[in-house]
């Protein structure tokens, strides 16, 4: 039997449907996660798990954001002052959990953007999702910049290709016949670095004579290092997490091998080398883009002083000289800069701004280094690195600042 719908209620239904459509329509236009007085930002990072040390990044972001909120908020490009609400989720550096967290952040918490997502595989895992939803994956903590969501992602820290080029540059000058042993993280990180290093030394007398992979969960890396030592190499290049990096530095000294050791800046902070024994770390070379923070003698640097004050005020959980916490602080700093110059409170505008940064200086970036990007041409915000050598108590600059602005080798 056909159901007869009386004319009157049918028009009522239509009216209802129409109102619903309109309401839905306006909702879709309004960007989630941003109101007139607040903007909500989400972070997924490893607060627990074998690489919990990276949790300092999220806490570093919080340190900066707390300071901004305490000062009243960020005056954004549209003239409104907004406080930043930060939501941090733990993923234990497991890419699957990163994806789950980001879905939760976007769909339930309705964040405006995700920030400082740590780990190359983790950023890869969320690439498709953020592209589908059109959510900015801002200033990810990965040295591989071209991942799965090119329209909605942007990195911050120098590309591993930049670091590989800087290392190669140094070796070509200082040790033109070097035989390199490479200890690398067996993810996109290490593979990108290895390939970039191979490219950078291809025209020189330097050779990679042995390479050994590690994972961030390996308890010890001694067998890998014994194999590398047996290859007869006289130079050790380490691109791993802080734990394996420190183990490698200790092994290189204690085993009597004593090669020229170059450690990626992801593993080379004084705080993370300390457990390896500072006498073992003497002579280690690394690259850095952040200022040296010495809490006892901040010298006369307004940026460093501000960082130390904010670190105290926020009761940050990481040590003041922890480079990862400083990266987090710098990421928060960069976020604030982007918010300040966004013309409209939309996600598109955020990406547009992040892709067209010009000479943006941050509190903890070394003098001479600024964020520069250009839509469609330059996706690397930081492209200059300074080499440092550890003298047993602190890092001392080695040579001049090396700039690859606009020339970062792609991968």
């Amino acid at each position: 039997m056909p159901i007869r719908v009386p004319g009157k209620s049918s028009s009522l239904l239509k009216a209802l449907a129409f109102t619903w459509l309109i309401a839905g329509g306006t909702q879709a236009q309004e960007t989630p996660g941003i109101t007139d007085d607040a903007v909500r930002i989400g972070i997924s990072g490893p607060l627990t798990g074998p690489v919990a040390a990276l949790g300092a990044i999220a806490d570093g972001v919080r340190t900066k954001i707390d300071a901004m909120n305490a000062a009243g908020g960020v005056k954004m490009g549209d003239g409104k002052t907004r406080k930043i609400e930060l939501i941090v989720e733990d993923d234990g550096l497991d890419p699957q959990r990163t994806l789950t967290n980001v879905r939760k952040l976007v769909e339930r918490e309705e964040v405006f953007a995700v920030l400082a997502t740590a780990g190359t595989p983790n950023n890869q895992a969320i690439g498709r999702y953020i592209t589908q939803r059109g959510v900015p994956n801002l200033f990810m903590y990965s040295g591989v910049h071209e991942l799965a969501g090119p329209e909605w992602e942007i990195g911050l820290v120098p590309s591993f290709t930049t670091e590989a080029a800087v290392f190669a540059h140094y070796l070509i000058e200082a040790k033109p016949e070097a035989k390199i042993a490479l200890l690398y993280l067996n993810t996109e990180t290490g593979q990108t670095f290895q390939k970039a290093l191979e490219d950078a030394i291809s025209m020189s007398g330097i050779k990679i004579v042995a390479a050994q992979p590690v994972t961030s969960a390996d308890p010890t890396v001694e067998t890998q290092l014994s194999t590398l030592k047996a290859s007869g190499a006289d130079t050790l290049v380490v691109i791993t997490g802080p734990k394996q990096g420190a183990e490698a530095v200790r092994f290189a000294a204690e085993s009597g091998w004593k090669p020229t050791t170059l450690v990626s800046n992801i593993a080379a902070s004084v705080a993370s080398l300390k457990p390896a024994g500072l006498e073992n770390a003497t002579g280690v070379i690394t690259s850095q883009y952040l200022k040296q923070v010495n809490a006892a003698a901040p010298e006369d640097d307004a940026g460093v002083k501000r960082y130390i004050a904010d670190h105290d005020a926020a009761k940050a959980k990481f040590a003041i000289d922890d480079a990862l916490g400083q990266v987090g602080y710098t990421t928060g700093n960069a976020l604030v800069k982007v918010l300040e110059s966004m013309k409209a409170p939309t996600r598109e505008s955020m990406m547009e701004t992040a892709r067209n940064l010009q000479g943006v200086e941050l509190d903890l970036l070394r003098s001479g280094i600024a964020l520069n990007t250009k839509s469609g041409e330059d996706v690397y915000p930081i492209e200059s690195l300074q080499l440092f050598q550890f003298d047993g108590s602190a890092y001392k600059p080695l040579g001049q600042l090396m700039s690859f602005e606009g020339k970062t080798p792609s991968h």
Partner: protein, 293 residues
């Protein structure tokens, strides 16, 4: 050939790390018939207590001693508060409870001390010997020596003393042990206390080599479980030897089998264990349980 022997030595060194946790796992299994997944994290927590005492200026040996006693009390406390209430529940519930211990103690260490890796004082001098190109460090050799002594000692206690017998009986059959006059609950409590103390010693040995961090023991849990299974769950010495075999197999396998990359390393101990179990289901040194009808 030098590389081969060097890798064997390296394998023994990392095997000793796996064995140390395996020993604590076996001990608690022997004393209470429970596999405590939280063992490593409890040990890490105690090691942090020792480290904190050192930081406060207490002499190293004294702080180790104090923290050792604390670890013993911690084991007893955990048993009374967490394990006893679920002891009559199905084994799955107990497993979940020990997984809970794993999470809670890791979170507690993270919350109290942060995630930075720290230098942990070593009991052994920082020296090494070069024997025809093969390098052996004092810390690795010392660690293996201490562990063998511990394993032998606990083996002797279980096997030849009244206390050990009473502990084994309580773990095996609580009701019947009670009937013959064994204070079962006290025995189980002691078992947890001793296992926690041994775990703490393991953490002391491992700490200087892996660096102290709240998640220090986590990656070795899988290897320790494989070692204990390989050696036999009721033999402390078996766990020790199981750990060393796993370490050497991993070291040699990962180097000389080219298709094994970084991600497949962890498969080696599992594979070795599997093969051994196929031939000898109770593990290398395990005893068969005989059921008489």
């Amino acid at each position: 050939m030098v590389l081969f022997f060097q890798l064997v030595v390296d394998g023994l060194a990392s095997g000793a790390i796996y064995a140390s946790l395996a020993l604590a796992l076996v001990l608690i299994f022997r004393a209470t018939r429970i596999v405590n997944f939280g063992q490593g994290e409890m040990a890490t927590f105690s090691a942090y207590c020792a480290w904190q005492l050192c930081e406060w200026g207490v002499p190293m040996m004294l702080s180790f001693l104090v923290a050792g006693v604390l670890a013993f009390l911690l084991g007893i406390g955990v048993f009374r508060l967490v394990i006893r209430p679920v002891s009559t529940a199905p084994v799955e519930a107990v497993v979940v409870a020990t997984l809970g211990l794993f999470v809670v103690f890791q979170a507690l260490s993270l919350w109290l001390w942060g995630s930075d890796q720290r230098a942990f004082p070593s009991m052994f001098p920082n020296v090494g010997w070069d024997i025809r190109g093969v390098r052996l460090t004092a810390s690795a050799a010392g660690m293996i020596a201490v562990l063998i002594c511990l394993a032998a000692l606990t083996g002797v206690v279980f096997r030849f003393t009244r206390l050990g017998l009473a502990m084994r009986a309580s773990a095996y059959d609580g009701e019947k042990s009670l009937l013959v006059g064994i204070p079962v609950e006290r025995m189980l409590m002691l078992g947890w206390g001793f296992a926690a103390a041994i775990g703490f010693v393991a953490a002391l040995l491992v700490g200087p080599r892996l660096f102290l961090s709240p998640t220090m023991m986590m990656p070795i849990l899988l290897y320790a479980l494989a070692s204990a299974t390989l050696g036999g769950w009721d033999s402390p010495l078996g766990a020790m030897i199981g750990g060393l075999i796993v370490g050497v197999a991993e070291s040699l396998g990962a180097t000389f089998l080219p298709f094994i990359g970084a991600d497949l390393r962890v498969v080696i101990p599992i594979l070795v264990t599997l093969v051994v179990l196929l031939v000898r289901p109770v593990g290398l040194f395990g005893t068969r349980t005989v059921v008489k009808l």
